[in-house]
């Protein structure tokens, strides 16, 4: 993925190759950082490991408390059982559409708005920014019912459109991208302005290419939110064919009794796309050629 801006860059900022990290000062055969990162990673991985173990256990073992950490037998059938217990494939697709749409919407609309907030001086800018930010300050439980009423008035109850629309643009993305855009060197953009490029052109040809890490981050976060969203889909979806994955998984949880092994198998399967998206986006975390312009 090319990170070079379309506009030619003065030679005083040569592009550096990715230099390898210097060896640790100690006499360890590997970087000393492993000693720090490995325990942290271990702590972070506890849930995944536990879920994996439970997902492979029999129903009997999975419900023992304290949980048995060493399964006496491996039940891979739990995965296919979870897949078949609810229309997993259908729910998967619905969740994917929902998440993809909200990611695309946020990347687009938040970029546009954030660029204006970061680079264009326009009437009412600061007040508008605070107003938009303020929408993050009310918990969803409170606006749940009015949001439902609005979507209902749009005739979008129980549709994918109704699911997606309230989440197409969030002030979170605007705030985050604004912060990132402001760290980019303005000289590049000014040079392009002088050359006659439109503001839109600057945004798409200069600013966004330099902001790939931020965009990737926003993309992952929004994907994760939509993928894990439970309450809004519950309220807006009324027929099973439109259910998302989280709604499907909740059907494995009874009021008094849960099939833990199936639930964990299902949950793990549902997390794979998010982890895949993260690994994919990691490529965009490479050092971009964004300069800070410090003389």
């Amino acid at each position: 993925m090319s990170v070079q801006p379309a506009v030619s860059v003065p030679e005083r900022f040569p592009r550096l190759p990715d230099a390898p990290a210097p060896r640790g000062r100690g006499r360890l055969p590997f970087s000393g950082w492993h000693l720090v990162l490995a325990p942290v990673a271990a702590i972070m991985l506890v849930p995944l490991v536990w879920m994996l173990i439970v997902s492979l256990e029999s129903q009997q073992q999975a419900t023992s408390f304290p949980p048995q950490l060493i399964p006496s037998s491996v039940h891979l059938g739990n995965y296919s059982a979870a897949w078949n217990a609810v229309p997993f494939g259908r729910f998967f697709i619905n969740s994917l559409l929902y998440s993809a749409a909200t990611v695309a919407g946020n990347l687009l609309f938040c970029s546009l708005a954030a660029y204006a907030f970061a680079r264009i001086r326009f009437f009412g800018r600061e007040v508008l920014f605070v107003v938009l930010l303020a929408t993050l300050m009310v918990p969803f439980q409170v606006i749940l019912i009015p949001t439902f009423l609005i979507v209902k008035n749009l005739g979008l109850v129980d549709t994918l459109g109704g699911l997606i629309m309230p989440n197409l643009c969030s002030a979170f993305g605007i705030f985050m991208l604004r912060q990132f855009f402001r760290t980019l060197p303005i000289e590049l953009e000014e040079a392009a302005r002088i050359d006659g490029t439109s503001r839109l052109g600057i945004l798409f040809k200069i600013v966004l290419p330099l902001s790939l890490p931020a965009l990737a981050t926003l993309g992952i976060i929004q994907f994760m939110w939509s993928w894990n969203d439970f309450l809004w889909p519950l309220i807006i979806i009324q027929s099973q064919t439109h259910d998302t994955l989280q709604l499907g998984l909740s059907q494995l949880q009874g009021a008094h009794f849960t099939q833990w092994n199936l639930l964990m198998a299902g949950t793990l399967m549902s997390q794979i796309p998010m982890l895949a998206a993260f690994l994919l986006a990691q490529r965009w975390f490479i050092r971009s050629v964004a300069f800070t312009g410090i003389k």
Binding site: T63, Q141, F148, L200
Partner: protein
């Protein structure tokens, strides 16, 4: 570069501002719409009536076994009643269901039938679209309202209106681990057990070294915490409120006695405190708890575990009363055709024969007394060893919790009181008098 066309969006927003979004809806507008046969506004009609054929929606929270059983029954109904189609939808578990129902009510389009917790009944009853069922029940003697157990009927009635048909009934009984009793050398519980025998056994069964507890109690200060205490209160001869319902009644000598029992057991560390996630069942299944006060919902799991269990009624102080937590099928008015269809379905669903089918598939308790007279009943009792105790125990559920919109607040107050005693942070008299003071305040408020 692609850009969404903004014009439709702007137009819609303006239209929205013009007509406004109302917070509540008297529902009158909907009734005419569906009765005339046109499907309701929006791409997904939740029901409708077309030239004699009616579609109705039922919302429920069944999962796993019950979901499968319900699906079977609905399919059977649809087959045997060609002029009605029942559309069953899963609405989420526990509290989430309430938010979804409230949203639907706010939008003026609730489902035709919904499964609702009994504790929500007094509040749901205030909705103008709710259908009081008196007219249907009075017009149809074959329905036999009195066939339902007293506790159920109490919970389905708010004032003079019957606001729902019992959908589920349960009660608390004593489940015990025979092996642990034998190991400790204690005689097994019987139907004539007293509190002192119960307390004694619980203490003897407790063994810190083996991480073994005599009893388990759900200690999340929710209704789960409270209703077990109510059972104890009633067993001691007490009552929740005063006869006129205006004052707390639980801070009586009976109430203190019940709370003291909890305190005693706590001081011996005899109680496994469950934090609300129902882990107690798993702990019991692994043989670490001697006794449970629980209901038929745990039976299927207990049967599958390796525990040699027994079931009997709760121990008595002055009586063996138990508490029941019935839930209701509630009907909302979406037009007279759909109302009629909904009634037909509910009557069919709760009829003795169908109810027996349901309980045989799921292990729930029958909602009607006459079910025990049906020939298939013995098979049901045999399929779930011990279920018969709970079924008979329904006769011990003579009292019900107060049917007031303020009950949830009362419940939270008592929940904290019980929790404070179970955590050893307060003594019974103190906790109860404080709770009574708060409850009196709640009852006095408008």
């Amino acid at each position: 570069m692609k850009r969404l066309s903004l014009l439709p969006l702007i137009a819609v927003t303006l239209a929205l501002a013009a007509c406004g979004s109302s917070g509540s809806n008297a529902g009158g507008g909907n009734a005419s719409g569906s009765a005339s046969g046109a499907s309701t506004q929006g791409p997904t009609p939740s029901g409708g009536s077309k030239s004699g054929h009616t579609t109705i929606t039922v919302w429920q929270g069944d999962t796993q076994t019950e979901a499968a059983a319900f699906k079977t029954l609905v399919a059977e109904f649809n087959r045997t009643h060609p002029s009605i189609t029942v559309n069953s939808q899963f609405y989420g578990n526990s509290d989430y269901a309430l938010q979804k129902v409230l949203a639907a009510i706010a939008g003026g389009k609730p489902p035709d039938i919904s499964y609702l917790y009994g504790s929500w009944a007094p509040n749901i009853a205030t909705n103008p679209q709710l259908v009081p069922l008196n007219k249907f029940i009075d017009a149809d003697p074959s329905f036999n309202w009195n066939d339902f157990f007293p506790a159920e009927r109490k919970v389905a009635t708010v004032g003079n209106s019957i606001i729902g048909i019992p959908a589920l009934v349960d009660n608390l009984a004593l489940v015990y681990n025979k092996t642990l009793f034998k190991q400790a050398g204690i005689p097994l519980p019987t139907a004539t057990w007293t509190w002192s025998q119960f307390e004694d056994a619980a203490i003897k069964l407790t063994n810190a070294a083996k991480k073994q507890f005599g009893w388990a109690y759900v200690n999340d200060a929710s209704e789960d915490t409270v209703w077990r205490y109510w059972a104890m209160l009633w067993q001691a001869g007490g009552s929740i409120l005063s006869p006129d319902g205006k004052q707390a009644g639980f801070d009586s000598a009976a109430g203190i006695k019940a709370m003291t029992l909890l305190q005693q057991l706590t001081s011996h560390h005899a109680i496994y405190l469950d934090n609300g996630s129902d882990n107690y069942l798993s702990v019991f299944q692994n043989g670490h708890i001697g006794m449970l006060w629980t209901g038929p919902w745990d039976l299927a799991q207990i049967i599958q575990s390796k525990v040699k269990y027994g079931v009997t009624i709760l121990p008595a102080d002055q009586n063996h009363q138990t508490i029941s937590g019935p839930d209701n099928w509630v009907m909302f008015n979406n037009g007279s055709a759909r109302e009629q269809a909904a009634w037909t379905f509910l009557k069919w669903l709760t009829s003795p024969a169908i109810d027996l089918q349901w309980v045989t598939l799921t292990g729930d308790l029958p909602v009607r007394a006459s079910v025990s007279q049906l020939p298939g009943y013995k098979k049901y009792v045999a399929k779930y060893p011990g279920i018969g105790v709970w079924a008979d125990n329904l006769n011990n559920a003579t009292q019900a919790r107060p049917q007031t919109t303020k009950y949830p607040k009362i419940s939270t107050t008592i929940g904290q009181a019980v929790q404070s005693v179970l955590l050893g942070k307060a003594d019974p008299k103190q906790a109860l008098s404080q709770a009574a003071q708060q409850v009196n305040g709640i009852l006095a408020a408008p």
